[in-house]
């Protein structure tokens, strides 16, 4: 998982994001903390609507109207990104921080050749001549293991298969030697065989370039394969966070436990599949107290009244549940 050192690359503190809609205020992120160190892969998991992508987009400041950051700080190498001007933010985007989106068809411009899309990104950020840029393109296309890069770069996106397009998107993220890649469901629309290829590719690229990756996914198995630490999100909050091994072996929050139980495993013997009853709440109307209480089998009176804070359970292991850790001791 790369050389993880203690240098904190990204530090998100108390981030709050809301969307002002006709129906009311959607509280998409509620006091979210996230730390990414150099060289590590951090996972963000949860069901759809948990706020994973919003968190990724807020870091890049790519929130579309009517979304806005209404509180908190995002430190990048010690500098608060929220105080940066738009122009300076542009330099960072797809420069030091790059993003890989879920659907490679919509992330690429259908009217431009692969070559031109990569060229645009390079010329925007690096002071190089076209010839040098061309060499960078070929090198990066080779890095993502695309066959015959010189020929391939003359193609339009529709001429490539889904897996190849996703490789182009990864190459696009890599051309400016980023320090952090935010991968938003990078393999969700791909077949398992291609998924295995792409995850392997991301891992080796990470080791070579000492990259940090934020892996946004709803697939717990992808987290287990790639991440050193993981954050579980529910209704706009991080409800549990810890080292991947600990979190998978000893999940503490009832939501994490339920998520892990509902994985359909190959070695599953029982006929009935475990599920989580109910659905993720509407973020305009978040339940009182702990947002998970209506779906939680262990909830009690306090859960309805008070939203638990994210507190330490163990070394590097945090959870927001009234029944666990410090809360359990307090009560």
């Amino acid at each position: 998982m790369g050389r993880v050192n203690t240098h904190t690359l990204l530090n998100v503190k108390n981030l709050e994001v809301e969307f002002l809609t006709d129906r009311g205020v959607v509280k998409a992120l509620n006091k979210v903390d996230l730390v990414v160190r150099r060289g590590e892969t951090v996972g963000l998991v949860g069901e759809s609507g948990a706020g994973k992508s919003v968190l990724g987009r807020s870091i890049m400041q790519l929130l579309s109207h009517p979304g806005r950051v209404c509180g908190g700080e995002i430190f990048w190498n010690g500098e608060d990104l929220l105080k940066r001007s738009d122009k300076l933010m542009c330099e960072l985007r797809s420069g030091s921080i790059a993003m890989i989106f879920q659907d490679p068809m919509t992330a690429l411009n259908p009217l431009k050749k692969i070559k031109d899309q990569l060229l645009e990104a390079i010329l925007l950020h690096q002071n190089v001549r076209r010839k040098q840029a061309r060499e960078i393109i070929i090198r990066r296309l080779q890095d993502v293991e695309l066959p015959q890069p010189e020929k391939m770069m003359e193609n339009y996106p529709h001429q490539l298969s889904g897996g190849m397009r996703q490789r182009v998107v990864i190459a696009l993220a890599l051309v400016n030697d980023p320090e952090l890649i935010i991968a938003d469901e990078p393999t969700t629309s791909l077949d398992v065989t291609i998924q295995a290829q792409i995850l392997g590719l991301l891992k080796s690229l990470q080791q070579e370039n000492n990259l940090s990756i934020i892996m946004i996914t709803h697939n717990m198995a992808v987290v287990a394969e790639t991440c050193s630490r993981v954050n579980v999100m529910y209704a706009g909050r991080i409800v549990e966070s810890g080292e991947t091994v600990t979190l998978f072996k000893k999940p503490v929050h009832p939501y994490t436990q339920a998520l892990l139980r509902s994985i359909i495993r190959l070695d599953n013997e029982s006929r009935r599949l475990e599920t989580i009853p109910g659905v993720m709440p509407d973020l305009i109307n978040v339940p009182s107290g702990c947002a998970f209480h209506p779906r939680c089998s262990e909830s009690f009176s306090l859960c309805v009244e008070k939203n638990p804070d994210l507190l330490g359970i163990d070394h590097n292991h945090l959870a927001a549940c009234h029944l666990r850790g410090d809360y359990a001791k307090l009560n």
Binding site: M164, V192, T193, L199, V279
Partner: protein
Amino acid sequence: MPNLIEVSGLTKHFIERQTILDRLLSESARPVRAVDGVDFDIRPGECFGLVGESGCGKTTVARLILRIYQPTNGQTSFCGVSINSLSQREMRPYYRQMQVIFQDPTSSMDPRMRVIEIIREPLDIFHIGNVQARKERVYELLELTGLSTGHADRYPHEFSGGQQQRIAIARALALGPKFVVCDEPVSALDVSVQGQILNLLMDLQEKLNLSYLFITHDLAVAKHICDRIAVMYLGKIVEIGDSRQVFQNPKHPYTQALLSAIPNPEPNQNVERIILQGLLPDPRNPPAGCRFHTRCSVSEERCYVEEPVLKTLSNGQSVACHLA
């Protein structure tokens, strides 16, 4: 018991439209060999799985059985009757017996219709019962699929993905079919909801004695719900058998690679992966011999020239590989 569905030599070649330029350059059109000679049968009350990568022809097989496409070659029989040569009018009673559930519930339902109208539409088309009877049938279906009668007057967008899929299932069951094609019914859903829909499909299968053709690229899902599975590669079936057997003891190198590509939900277990090299070949121009030889790690001389046929092994598993 006789088989519900028997498919033999089913083939579908799509011919692409040629432009004038193509004709002037006299490039002859190469058909896309989407499905190229497929044989299998589905027994009553069975869940038959079809797995493989995207583009291998899974959905085309389903559409051929449903007569959405006309096959280029081959036979499909339903309850012993060959349905390929039937006219649309003659097909009508069979359409009642076979229904389909699609992957994406939002795009498979008219957003301007209320739930009651969506589920009632098949009943309207087949003129079943009077207004009151149809309404009662819709309520019955809503309850059967775990929804409530209070949902009847709402629109699809008011529901979550899982609930929308329940509406789609209710619609598929409206005519009381024997056979339901489930085309990636849970791929667009969250894991926590996937389980709910799969449990529902299994309950309904038991209660109504349904047969499913279950199409999926998620092998864990296939193993869980299917009694037998067929693995497809580039328009051909490469392996077919009891799903437990196929998963425990895959014979075809492609099945082995597919199984080993599944990400492991246990962290820190470095499993040896067979990573398939290269890409799915162009179905206009499939490789000679065994179609998988371009990506196979154990292929030998014979695989480049001679196409393997599906042969049945002693345990009932069938596999199309020279080396098995």
